[in-house]
Symmetry: C2
Subunit: 213 residues, 2 copies
DNA sequence: GAGCGATGTTACCGTACGGTAACATCGGGC
DNA sequence: GCCCGATGTTACCGTACGGTAACATCGCTC
């Protein structure tokens, strides 16, 4: 005789509620234990739901991850400065926009640890899980990247590479900030330290004007 | 009746040979399957050695990793330009040295996928394995970092941050190159593309002189 | 109110893992 | 010749996992 079988899901007999519980549980487990500890059992336990329901509604843990990516969305349209790609031929303002978008992207990452988990996962394994996540992410990211790299005039002058290297550095530092308090003297675990990182990135992105930094 | 029990280790009854075989097997498995697939069974199978020997000689998979880090060494003294920290007060030559060391460090990483595996692992989990690796790595890296960041005069002018961001970007791109052919338009899977990345890093590191790039 | 599909739960299977006990075998010291 | 520690191998245990069959229950349709 189990003690409390009826006290499980708030909305008793609703498929949608169960799906939401599983998606929430996925997020919970990822934030709490990291992707290495992610497992079917952990998710269904956190969701307070029977294991077969996960397989019935999402087919698989990979399916659950894909559904999570689709419904929650992640790392898309994080640009903070107005409509995409509508910028004057003014170099300075365009560079400013690029810098702002770099910073906005990094702030988004820092605020969304689950996305960071998956980005890190892609570095360590080419599993079905990371592949599922990568495809969903690329779908979300494509318009953003187009905005950021779409200006041929800007790219031709080699600035593309500066953007890319700053972006790569910000991704790495954001991932690293989850578990390491610092990197080569930079504080990653405090808001102040992170503000330093972002300011540095902003300065580098606006580089051709002010070469001294 | 097994077919060939006596045809296992080349040097039959030597503890050192078995240890070497296990260390080699660790490296093999890491390079072949990645760190996510690393397990005691995989290592002993690749080494052609009984499982208890790993526990007897290294205590643990973590112990094997630590021993591997100690004996093989990794990501240490990769600086390519002469003795450490002996540079004239000439700014240009010092920046050149820094740029060379950044490039040398990145090339080292690219040539040592196992180190990349562990660096990526540290991003996804704070496991005993990654902790063991991190401590061993920091021991090796300390003098290198001292060379690279030890010059207070240089640091004071904010150049420290440029170095750090380039370093972070190179680490990320090196990790990413293992499983993703490109990143935001950069080719990471070819030597030519990687040369582009390194040249870009070199230019940025020598930035205060030539602001245009 | 009978039927039936959707929802939920229990219990189980096969597998792979980390780790260990028990048993063979070698090899040098006396 | 004998002994004993070191080396190596087999077989096993408990556990946790992914995945599924079987059974219970709800709720809507007609």
């Amino acid at each position: 005789m189990p003690a409390d079988p009826p006290s499980r899901s708030a909305t008793p007999g609703s498929r949608g509620a169960t799906e939401e519980a599983l998606l929430d549980a996925l997020e919970t487990v990822l934030q709490r234990d990291g992707l290495r500890q992610l497992s079917v059992n952990a998710v269904v336990e956190a969701a307070g739901v029977g294991k077969p329901l996960l397989y019935r509604y999402f087919g698989d843990l990979q399916g659950l991850v894909q559904a999570w990516g689709k419904r929650r969305g992640f790392w898309a349209e994080v640009a903070g400065t107005g409509p995409p790609s509508h910028h004057k031929p003014d170099d300075q303002s365009f560079r400013q926009q690029i810098a702002d978008e770099l910073v906005a992207s990094a702030e988004y990452l820092r605020a969304h640890p689950v996305t960071l988990e998956f980005l890190a996962e892609e570095l360590t394994a080419t599993s079905d899980l990371s592949a599922a996540f990568a495809s969903a992410r690329e779908d979300c990211r494509r318009p953003y990247l187009k905005t950021m790299l779409g200006d041929r005039r800007y790219l031709r002058r080699g600035n593309h590479r500066v953007i890319v290297i700053i972006h790569a550095a910000l991704i790495y530092l954001a991932m690293r900030s989850r578990r390491s308090p610092n990197f080569m003297g930079l504080r990653l675990d405090t808001d102040a330290g992170w503000r330093d990182v972002l300011n540095m990135a902003r300065e580098l992105a606006r580089l051709p004007e002010n070469a001294r930094n």
